[in-house]
């Protein structure tokens, strides 16, 4: 099969390709990027794409947009192996893997309803991040979030 026939989506001129997303997490990546029904630029999403290394992966391409650090941190929490390709004028201008931060602030809601970070107090949620697998430990109440992290993103 030729490369042209294999290609399912057209290349983008300017924007970001988020590759090697953990299979099943593409929708959550779109949520992080705030892509909803009325989004104006071209967004392409591929799910369960065969991958030699990962078995399956998801891919998101978003035109005319480069991601902010907070968005990259959030993506790293739900898919720590994702890679970011910055595209400028059809060329890959930069490529890197997302990096798990040691601490995230104001990004995740604590699962403990009795945690001080879930009250009217002027306090921003803070979590220590552990790797392999990703675990978030609330610095206030010490509860740990290990599963369905995407559901707890603010």
């Amino acid at each position: 099969m030729s490369a042209e026939k294999e290609l399912r989506v057209r290349p983008i001129r300017d924007g970001t390709v988020i590759d090697r997303i953990l299979a099943g997490q593409a929708m959550n990546v779109l949520k992080i990027l705030g892509v909803k029904g009325a989004y104006s630029d071209v967004v392409t999403m591929a799910m369960n794409v065969p991958s030699k290394e990962l078995g399956q992966k998801d891919i998101v391409k978003i035109e005319n947009r480069e991601l902010e650090e907070k968005e990259l941190d959030k993506i790293s929490l739900i898919s720590p192996g994702a890679t970011i390709n910055i595209i400028r004028d059809f060329e890959v201008a930069d490529k890197y893997q997302v990096e798990l931060p040691e601490m995230v602030e104001g990004m995740v809601k604590c699962i403990n309803p009795n945690c001080i970070s879930n009250t009217k107090e002027p306090v921003i949620s803070k979590f220590e991040v552990k790797k392999d697998p990703v675990q978030l430990r609330c610095i206030y109440c010490e509860n740990i979030i290990m599963e369905n992290i995407a559901e707890h993103l603010l």
Partner: protein, 307 residues
């Protein structure tokens, strides 16, 4: 050792050397706690912010402060304060820390003491944050064990609600730093969470579990009883049955070691029969008293006063 102006939030903030330092300081101050009078903290003010009921913690802090010549400010009932107007804890702390040299706080939300420390200009001492930490209880427990038994090569059984009990989690953490042999005794539904057990073992404690209280009584130095809350059992008959199985009476003590001591953070409900109170093993009222020298030690330490 540098403690001045440090917050006391969780036992996990302490090294073993620091714990020993506090216990040594409490030993020095114990004669004053027994009725002496000192001016060590003259002119200092301790604010007591208790958003939840407390008897021993609040009163022993007050006693400690008064015995050292200092004064106390009491929040009083919530109804008489700006809390009913919806004032946040953060604002309360900002204000009260300008009135006082240290604040003792009890609040129903986990993490509230750590948050308070972020807003306070004076040391915060955590007197209990929901199901979180209660470090001064643990320090007085350690003091009791060291004074009435021994901390090295300790065989201790901890009985009751090991799943939710904050006292127990802090205490076992501290004991793990002393390499204690810990036997956990609880009904199956109130067992200590696996994560905490794994942490204890990783730090050098030897931990075993049983549901049978009677089988372990004769080979321990300390029996640490805790209250099992009725609310944990949806079925009242189940609670009654279980409460009976984890109750100590004088008959249980026939073959225990002579030096074995019984502790309880109080209040007790059914766990220790009053027949045990007069036995040579009971130490729970002494334990309650030791809250005073421990809190004296902490107050002098965080207020930067040499003893």
């Amino acid at each position: 050792m540098r403690f001045e102006r440090r917050h006391i939030i969780s036992m996990k903030d302490f090294t073993r050397d620091e714990m020993d330092y506090i216990l040594d300081r409490a030993t020095k101050l114990e004669p004053l706690a027994r009725g002496g009078r000192s001016d060590l903290l003259a002119g200092k003010i301790l604010a007591l912010l208790f958003y939840e009921p407390s008897t021993r913690t609040r009163m022993s802090f007050e006693t400690a402060m008064l015995r050292l010549g200092g004064g106390v400010l009491n929040l009083g009932s919530k109804e008489a304060t700006s809390i009913v107007k919806g004032e946040t804890l953060a604002d309360m702390i900002r204000v009260v820390s300008t009135y006082s040299d240290a604040i003792v706080q009890r609040h129903p939300s986990e993490g509230s003491a750590l948050m308070a420390a972020e807003f306070s200009s004076v040391p915060i001492i955590n007197g209990g944050d929901g199901a979180g930490h209660h470090p001064t209880q643990t320090l007085l427990d350690l003091y009791t064990i060291r004074k009435e038994s021994h901390l090295d090569n300790l065989d201790i059984a901890i009985v009751g609600d090991l799943k939710y009990g904050r006292t127990v989690h802090s205490l076992t953490y501290a004991l793990s730093l002393y390499g204690a042999n810990i036997t956990l005794v609880s009904p199956p539904q109130l067992k200590m969470p696996d994560q905490i057990k794994a942490d204890l073992k990783a730090r050098g404690a030897r931990v075993r579990e049983t549901e049978n209280l009677e089988e372990i009584l004769d080979n321990i130095d300390v029996l640490y009883m805790t209250r099992i809350q009725k609310e944990r059992f949806p079925d009242p008959t189940e609670y009654k049955k279980m409460a009976g199985a984890y109750k100590i009476t004088i008959e249980h003590l026939e073959n225990v070691r002579d030096s074995m001591i019984i502790m309880h953070p109080l209040p007790r409900v059914y766990e220790i029969d009053s027949s045990v109170d007069t036995s040579s093993h009971a130490r729970y009222f002494e334990q309650s008293f030791y809250g005073v020298p421990i809190r004296m030690a902490l107050l002098t330490i965080v207020m930067g006063v040499e003893v």
